[in-house]
Symmetry: C2
Subunit: 332 residues, 2 copies
């Protein structure tokens, strides 16, 4: 079907090595043979078989990109960034959509079968042990949006979720709210746990403030909406820190059902600052997570691990900041 090295060599009247060398950076070929080879290659429409060469070089440039987060719109941005960043560096993303049905260990095996050079785990709702499984299998791995404290063996890129919880708490305090709540993501997500911890730790110093909390089923609109509808059945707090913008937007929808105006009747602060939060109709006050920097850095790290596989693991943590919009009441 496709043209091979051998045919090009035959047409150009040189050895197969010569052809191989003209297509590998920095190999020793004279200008003359290179010209001959390039002419023949062009004529036949040859381009080297990346997989065949991976056999001898041991490099496929394939990077496993694993996530289980296909219901939070922020992840469209995440995939956009990841695929671009990888492509720009000549790496190819091999996607794994980890659903509840798929056995995680299968994906480890599968990615090894395809000899991926490295793996990026993009999720905070997967257990640290998952990323570690790749490390144990000898595959370089970066856990983006992971938690460093419980994954000392693995490279982690993300934010300080505890600090974000604190930041949200301080922001609510500065607005003079007297009773506040945390509406978090799924309880097994490290991000949800850490944000909770920071939030309550910060508020622990203020004994006059009432603090409530709950965890939703997932990082999704529906889950956020359902949880807020629940809360509205009882006596809700004056303001909520939602553990993700999509939860916030679900919560906002619930508020609107009850005829409540966010920022006036009930305060909401989210986390992520996704595109949708900027929409005029949403106008969500939120904590900006620097997605782009996180992803660029993750891919940088992947590249560096390719050069130096035994690299000592590190955590790259990016600071977040509050973006003020319309869903919290003004400072007193």
């Amino acid at each position: 079907m496709s043209v091979t090295l051998k045919e090009v060599a035959a047409l150009a009247g040189v050895s197969r090595s010569a052809v191989s060398r003209t297509f590998t950076e920095g190999a020793s070929v004279s200008a003359k043979t290179r010209r001959k080879v390039e002419k023949a290659a062009l004529e036949l429409g040859y381009s080297p078989n990346a997989l065949a060469s991976s056999l001898t070089t041991g490099r496929t440039k394939l990077i496993g990109l694993i996530s289980n987060n296909f219901h939070n719109p922020i992840f469209l941005e995440v995939f956009d960034q990841f695929t671009r960043a990888l492509q720009e560096r000549g790496l190819r993303p091999l996607i794994v959509n980890l659903t509840d049905e798929t056995e995680p260990s299968n994906s480890v095996r599968m990615l090894r079968q395809y000899s991926v050079d490295a793996v990026i785990v993009a999720s905070s709702t997967l257990p640290p042990s998952f990323a570690k499984a790749f490390h144990d299998a000898g595959v370089p791995v970066v856990h983006t949006f992971g938690r460093s404290a419980t994954s000392p063996e693995v490279h982690v890129v993300g934010i300080d979720n505890v600090e974000c919880g604190r930041m949200a708490a301080r922001e609510l305090l500065s607005r003079g709210y007297r009773s506040v709540g945390y509406l978090g993501g799924p309880q097994n997500a490290t991000s949800a746990q850490d944000r909770y911890r920071g939030f309550t730790e910060e508020l622990g110093q203020h004994t006059d403030i009432a603090v409530a909390h709950c965890f939703s089923e997932a990082y999704s609109f529906e889950a956020g909406r359902a949880k807020m509808l629940d809360l509205l059945k009882g006596s809700p707090a004056e303001a909520y820190f939602c553990g993700d913008d999509i939860l916030s937007i679900g919560a906002l929808s619930a508020l609107s059902d009850h005829g409540l105006t966010p920022g006036k009747d009930i305060g909401i602060i989210g986390l992520n600052d996704m595109e949708m939060s900027r929409w005029e109709s949403v106008d969500l006050t939120t904590i900006h997570q620097p997605i782009k920097q996180i992803i660029t850095s993750s891919v940088d790290l992947v590249e560096e691990m390719l050069k130096e596989p035994q690299r000592y693991p590190e955590a790259r943590i990016f600071p977040c900041r509050v973006i003020e919009r319309g869903t919290l009441r003004p400072r007193p």
Copy 2:
């Protein structure tokens, strides 16, 4: 680094062929040797190198999944479905994010270098010639969301966009609107063109109805919002058919800026029926596009092409239907 066939053979005390055969479906191996091999493989943690075997078998199970649509939230649903459907069949998605900077021909070359078994082009904003480039290069290709009329050589799966335009027109007529408009996607998208054609053809029979149209810059919230803000500067129509839900949602945001209530002051009907359209705060009347069926069918088709590469091209068209929600006024 990783365990090879040879080592397993050595440990099991059999030939390399025997090992290979125990791992290939339907090969001739006795129960006894199979047992020995499996024991040795387990002990060493062996799993076959998919890429090495692809060299001789000519099959990689890699499927190129190409899109340029990373800003329309519906595509998160699309990627979710595609990746799952492919995984379920043991196929691996190799993603290509086609941005404006990337030369399309590069992606053709790249996917050939990785010997993908087939390619799925998932976009209506790419020219038919793009999908054809793969066909010409001898790579089986399915154009999902493509247009069959101008791509007779290529398999197409999608909807009848002209008919959708008609459907939207009929729906608006049935609500008694006397002046209507089409707010379409980018003019170079075949979907935008076809929807426009159906819409105006249907309305051509009603000379008493005023018809306007425009095309937006992209299938995105911002583009829809910007276009509707423009329209509101002049004298807008009574109702609009927006060529995609995300355009509709952008348009709704513009209406709300002007204090206009959708369904009351101005009617909006979208197309896609994405998750967000069901949100109570959006409540968009729209034409449902059966994404799940389209994608399942696309992947089915891919599988069939793997068996029969020279398969005669076909177009698989799925019917759409109007989903009534709150952004059109009631029938008179």
